[in-house]
C-alpha cells in the first residue's frame, strides 16, 4: 500500500512536471540537427558502395 502511494504521488509529480515543461525538451532545431546528421550518415553509407 505504501509503495502504491509512493508510485501514485511520483506519477502525479511527473505529469505535473511534464505539463510545465520543466525537463528541457528537444527543440525543433534539435530535431533538424538530428535529421541532418542522419542524412549525412545515410549518404556516407550509400557512398561506401562505390569504394
Amino acid at each position: 500500500m505504501e509503495k502504491d502511494n509512493e508510485l501514485e504521488s511520483r506519477i502525479e509529480e511527473v505529469l505535473k512536471v511534464e505539463k510545465e515543461n520543466k525537463i528541457p525538451r528537444m527543440t525543433k532545431r534539435d530535431y533538424i540537427i538530428a535529421a541532418v546528421i542522419t542524412v549525412i550518415a545515410l549518404l556516407g553509407i550509400i557512398g561506401g558502395f562505390f569504394l
Binding site: 508510485l7 511520483r10 511527473v14 545515410l42
Partner: protein, 886 residues
C-alpha cells in the same frame, strides 16, 4: 538476518526503485556524465569479435563507414524515443506495456533475453580462447575438453558474483570499465605500432571465389545495424536519469556510435595486424599482444581480459536477473540467475556461438528491429508522445492497457510479422538472400521499416485505433477538424469497390430503383435525399450510378470510419445545425468541378419513418448553385434498421425513386417557394404506410424493442417517459396500457384499437408545443459530456449541466479547450432541429448533440437524470423553438 535474505531484499528494492518514475530533483546526469556511463556500458570484449568479423567481410575504409556511419544512422533513428524516458523518467519497458499489454510485455521480455543472452556466451568463449592461447604460447598444451571447462568456469564465477547482489556488482562495474579501457588502449598502441599504417588503411579481405563485394558490404552494414540495435532493451536505463531530453538522446547515440564503435574498429585493427604478421585472423587481444609485443604484456592483458569477461558475464546475469525479477515477481532472484547461467552454459557446450556470430547478430536484430520500430511509431505517430502512466503502472482502476486479457494483439502481431519479414528477406543461418532488393536495405532496416509502416497503417483503421488508443483521455488530439479543406472527388479507383460493396449490402433487401425525368440529366446536379438510416449511403450511390458523387457527412462518421476513407468516398465533413460557410464554399467547388452533390436536408434520421419539415435554405442553395435538382426518396431503409433499434430486419424491402424535380431551364425561373414545394413534395414519406401498402412482413420477435424512445408518452395516462418496450410490445410502466406491434408495423391495443405509429409520434409533439407556448417547458439536468473536436477522438469533459428552455440550450461543463468551467449558450432561434441518438453506436445509450464550429458535444444523461432524459421530447421542443414547426 541471513545473507540470502539480504540479497533478495536488495534485489526486490532494486526492482521496485528501478521501475519508479524518476523525479527531476533525482536526475543525476548531464550530457558528459551520461556519455561516459553509456560509453562504459557499450564497451565489452565482444567488440573485438565484431571488429574481426567485419574484417572478414570488407576492406578497412568500408569497415570504418559501417562501424561509425551505419551505427550512428541506426542509433539516430531508433534511439529517438529515449526522449520519452527522459520526459517521464521511465524505462522503455513501461511504455512498451502500452504496445504489447502487461502480459504481452512479459513474453517480449523473455524473448529479448533469449535472443540477447548469447552475447554472454561470447564472453565465456573469449575467456576460454584467451586462456588456451596464452598457455599455448608458454608451451602448455591442454587436454581435449579443456576449452569447455574454461568457458564454463567463466559462467560459474560470473554467476557467483551476480548471486552476491548489488554491492558486489557495483564494485565489479567500477573495476571492469577502466580495465576494458586499459586493454583497449594497449591494443590500439600495439596494433598501430606493430604493422605499417598503410597495411591497415589499404586492407582488403581475401574473399572466397563466389563472394560478392556488394553483398559483403551490405552484410557489414547489417552487422553494425544489428550490433547497435541490440541495445534497444536497455537503451533508456541511463537516459531516464538525464536532466534534458537532448543530453539523454545524444549520450545514447554517441555512447554506442562513437565509443562502442571505436572499440569495434580497434578489434578490426587487431585482427588485420594479426593476419599481416601471422597469416591468421584472431579476435583475441591477449594473443595479439603476446604475439605482436611481448609475452609478458600478453600475460598482463590475460589477467585484465579474463577479469573483464568474467565481470561482463556477472553484470549481464545481474541486469537480466533484475529484469526477469520485475516480470516474475514470485520467482527468487537466485533461481533466475541460475537459470540464466544454465542457458549460457548450454550455449558454451554447444560451442558454435562464435562460428555463428553473424547469424546470431541478425537473428537478434530480427526481434529488435520490429521492437524498435513499434516503439518509434507508437511514441511519435500513434500515441503522439502521451501515455497514461497510471495504466502503464497498472494502478487500481486504470486499465487502458489491459486490451485482450493483458495482451495487445495488434502490437504482438506486428512484432511477429516484422520478425517473419526479416526471414523472408534473408536467412541468417544459411546466409541465403531471398530478396535481393530488400536485402540492399539490410534485413534490420527492412524489418524496421516494414513493421513501422504496418503498425502505423493498422492504427489508421478506426476500429484498431480505438483498440490501441484506449488511453486517448490521457492525451487526446484536440485539433479542430479542418472544415475548410477541399474535399477530393470520389476516388475513381474506389468507385467500383463502393458500388460492389453497396450492391452486396442491399442484395438481401431486393432494392429496386425507379428513375423519373432523368433523361439527359448529367452532372453537375444537386441531389436531395430522404434520410432514414445508414442504408441511405448504400442505396444512393447505386441509384446515381454511373456518376460519382460527393456527400455531406456529420463528423462522427469520419471518427467512426476514419478520415482517409471518408475523404476517398467523397464526404464533406461538417457539424449539424451550425452556419457552416466553409461547407457552402465546398459545395460550390464540387458543383463547379462538374460533380454530383448529395445532401440529406433533414440532417437527421427519421425517428418513426416520416419526413421532417424542410427549410427554405434548401431551395435557396439550389438557386445559388444554378444546377438541376434531383430528389431520391428511399423507402424501406427505416424499416430495415430504425434508429431506435439498430438490429437489422431481414424482412425489409428497399425501393428508391430518383426524380429530377427542377431542370436546368427551370432553376432560374422558379421562385424559392416553388422549388421548396417541389422538393418537399417528393421527399414526403411514411415508412409504415409503405410497409402496409406493400405488405412487407417484419416478423422479428424483438421488433418493438426500443420503440419507447420515440413513443415516450402514454396515450392512456398521459405521463411522459412512461413507456417501456420488450419483444413486440410497448407498455406503460405506470398504468399498464399495452400495445402489440404486428408484422406489418401497426400497433394494436388490447381493446382492438389500431394505432399508426407516426400518429402517436405527432400526437406527442402537440403536447410539447403546448408546454413551450405556456412557458412550462424546462429541462435542467446533470449530464455527461463528451466533445468530438475532429475525426480522431472524443474528449471526455466529465459531468456538466444541461438546461433547455424557451431561450435555447445552455451547457455548463469543464471546457477542455479553455480549461475553465464555463457555460456555452445555444440560442433557440439558432437551431431548427437537433441531432439525437437513442442508443449511440449500439452501446452508449441515448444522447443529443450540440455543436460549435470546433466541437460537437455529445450529451448523455447521468444515472440521476436517465429517467427524464428523452431525446425525442428535447427535439420536439428545439424544432418548435427554432421555428421549424408552428
Amino acid at each position: 538476518m541471513s545473507r540470502k535474505h539480504d540479497v533478495n531484499k536488495e534485489i526486490e528494492n532494486e526492482v521496485y526503485c528501478g521501475t519508479l518514475p524518476v523525479l527531476p530533483k533525482e536526475r543525476k546526469y548531464g550530457f558528459i556524465d551520461a556519455l561516459l556511463v553509456l560509453s562504459g556500458y557499450c564497451i565489452a570484449t565482444w567488440s573485438y569479435t565484431q571488429g574481426s568479423y567485419l574484417a572478414t567481410l570488407v576492406g578497412f575504409k568500408q569497415l570504418l563507414i559501417g562501424a561509425f556511419l551505419a551505427a550512428i544512422f541506426m542509433l539516430m533513428v531508433y534511439q529517438l524515443p529515449v526522449i520519452m524516458s527522459v520526459r517521464y523518467g521511465i524505462d522503455i519497458w513501461i511504455w512498451l506495456r502500452s504496445v504489447f499489454g502487461p502480459k504481452g510485455n512479459k513474453i517480449v521480455t523473455i524473448i529479448i533475453i533469449v535472443v540477447n543472452f548469447p552475447w554472454y556466451a561470447v564472453c565465456c568463449e573469449l575467456f576460454a580462447d584467451s586462456m588456451e592461447n596464452l598457455l599455448g604460447l608458454f608451451g602448455i598444451q591442454l587436454f581435449n575438453g579443456a576449452h569447455l571447462i574454461l568457458s564454463l568456469s567463466c559462467v560459474v564465477v560470473g554467476t557467483i558474483i551476480a548471486l552476491r547482489g548489488v554491492g558486489t556488482i557495483t564494485w565489479t562495474t567500477r573495476i571492469l570499465v577502466p580495465l576494458l579501457l586499459l586493454v583497449g588502449i594497449a591494443v590500439v598502441v600495439v596494433g598501430f605500432t606493430s604493422v605499417p599504417m598503410d597495411v591497415i588503411w589499404n586492407y582488403q579481405p581475401e574473399l572466397a571465389g563466389d563472394a560478392d563485394k556488394t553483398v559483403n558490404y551490405v552484410l557489414n552494414i547489417e552487422a553494425n545495424f544489428a550490433f547497435v540495435i541490440t541495445l534497444v532493451g536497455g537503451m533508456a536505463e541511463v537516459p531516464r536519469l538525464c536532466k534534458s531530453e537532448k543530453s539523454g538522446y545524444y549520450a545514447g547515440v554517441l555512447g554506442q556510435g562513437a565509443a562502442g564503435s571505436f572499440f569495434v574498429v580497434v578489434g578490426a585493427v587487431m585482427a588485420i595486424a594479426m593476419q599481416y604478421v601471422t597469416g591468421k585472423m584472431v579476435d583475441d587481444p591477449t594473443l595479439m599482444m603476446a604475439t605482436l609485443s611481448a609475452p609478458i604484456l600478453g600475460l598482463s592483458s590475460l589477467l585484465l581480459v579474463a577479469f573483464a569477461n568474467i565481470g561482463t558475464q556477472a553484470v549481464g546475469s545481474y541486469i537480466y536477473g533484475v529484469m526477469l525479477k520485475s516480470t516474475f515477481k514470485k520467482v527468487s532472484y537466485k533461481t533466475l540467475v541460475l537459470v540464466l547461467g544454465l542457458y549460457v552454459a548450454l550455449l558454451c557446450v554447444w560451442g558454435k556461438i562464435t562460428e555463428y556470430f553473424g547469424s546470431f547478430l541478425t537473428i537478434g536484430a530480427c526481434v529488435y528491429a520490429p521492437l524498435a520500430a513499434l516503439l518509434f511509431v507508437d511514441f511519435f505517430a500513434v500515441r503522439k508522445q502521451k501515455i497514461d502512466l497510471k495504466s502503464a503502472f497498472e494502478l487500481e482502476g486504470y486499465n487502458a492497457y489491459q486490451y485482450t486479457k493483458g495482451f495487445n494483439i495488434v502490437g504482438i502481431i506486428c512484432l511477429a510479422l516484422g520478425f517473419g519479414f526479416t526471414l523472408l528477406v534473408y536467412d541468417p543461418i544459411k546466409g541465403i538472400i531471398h530478396n535481393k532488393i530488400l536485402f540492399m536495405l539490410t534485413p534490420t532496416l527492412a524489418s524496421f521499416l516494414f513493421t513501422g509502416v504496418l503498425y502505423y497503417l493498422l492504427c489508421k483503421i478506426p476500429d484498431i485505433r480505438r483498440y490501441v488508443r484506449r488511453d486517448t483521455y490521457a492525451g487526446p488530439d484536440k485539433r479542430p477538424f479542418d472544415r475548410a479543406k477541399v474535399p477530393p472527388r470520389q476516388n475513381l479507383l474506389m468507385l467500383p469497390l463502393i458500388w460492389l460493396y453497396c450492391k452486396i449490402t442491399v442484395v438481401p433487401y431486393k432494392l429496386k430503383v425507379d428513375k423519373y425525368n432523368m433523361e439527359g440529366i448529367k452532372p453537375p446536379f444537386l441531389v436531395y435525399g430522404s434520410h432514414n438510416s445508414f442504408m441511405d449511403f448504400y442505396v444512393t450511390p447505386l441509384a446515381l450510378k454511373p456518376y460519382r458523387a460527393n456527400y455531406i457527412s456529420e463528423l462522427e462518421g469520419f471518427e467512426a470510419f476514419g478520415e482517409w476513407i471518408y475523404r476517398q468516398i467523397g464526404c464533406l465533413g461538417t457539424r449539424k445545425f451550425i452556419n457552416d460557410q466553409h461547407l457552402i464554399k465546398n459545395i460550390i467547388k464540387v458543383i463547379k468541378r462538374g460533380d454530383v452533390m448529395v445532401i440529406y436536408p433533414e440532417a437527421r434520421y427519421a425517428n418513426v419513418g416520416t419526413n421532417s419539415h424542410l427549410t427554405p435554405s434548401v431551395a435557396k442553395l439550389a438557386k445559388l448553385l444554378k444546377v438541376p435538382v434531383v430528389t431520391i426518396n428511399m423507402q424501406g431503409n427505416y424499416l430495415q434498421q430504425p434508429i431506435w433499434n439498430l438490429k437489422e430486419r431481414k424482412g425489409a424491402r428497399l425501393h428508391a425513386d430518383l426524380k429530377c424535380v427542377v431542370t436546368q431551364d427551370e432553376i432560374e425561373k422558379l421562385s424559392v417557394d416553388e422549388i421548396l414545394s417541389r422538393i418537399s413534395k417528393e421527399l414526403t414519406y411514411d415508412e409504415y404506410k409503405y410497409q402496409l401498402d406493400n405488405k412487407i412482413v417484419i416478423d422479428d420477435a424483438w421488433r418493438a424493442e426500443g420503440l419507447h424512445y420515440p413513443l415516450y408518452r402514454c396515450r392512456k395516462c398521459g405521463k411522459d417517459f412512461a413507456m417501456t418496450s420488450s419483444g413486440s410490445k410497448i407498455t406503460c410502466k405506470y398504468c399498464g396500457d399495452s400495445y402489440e406491434m404486428d408484422e406489418l408495423g401497426q400497433l394494436h391495443s388490447s381493446s382492438g384499437e389500431i394505432i399508426h405509429i407516426p400518429d402517436w409520434y405527432e400526437w406527442q409533439r402537440g403536447f410539447v408545443h403546448e408546454e413551450v407556448r405556456e412557458g412550462k417547458y424546462r429541462l435542467d439536468i446533470p449530464v455527461r459530456v463528451w466533445a468530438l473536436p475532429n475525426a480522431v477522438n472524443f474528449v471526455d469533459c466529465g459531468e456538466g449541466r444541461l438546461v433547455h428552455d424557451n431561450n435555447g440550450f445552455s451547457l455548463e461543463f469543464d471546457n477542455y479547450r479553455t480549461e475553465k468551467h464555463e457555460t456555452l449558450k445555444f440560442p433557440a432561434k439558432s437551431m431548427v432541429s437537433l441531432h439525437t441518438e437513442y442508443d449511440y453506436r449500439g452501446k452508449y445509450g441515448p444522447c443529443v448533440t450540440l455543436s460549435t464550429y470546433d466541437d460537437t458535444f455529445f450529451i448523455y444523461p447521468t444515472d440521476e437524470s436517465r429517467d427524464v432524459f428523452n431525446p425525442t421530447k428535447i427535439q420536439f421542443a428545439t424544432e418548435y423553438l427554432g421555428g421549424l414547426y408552428t
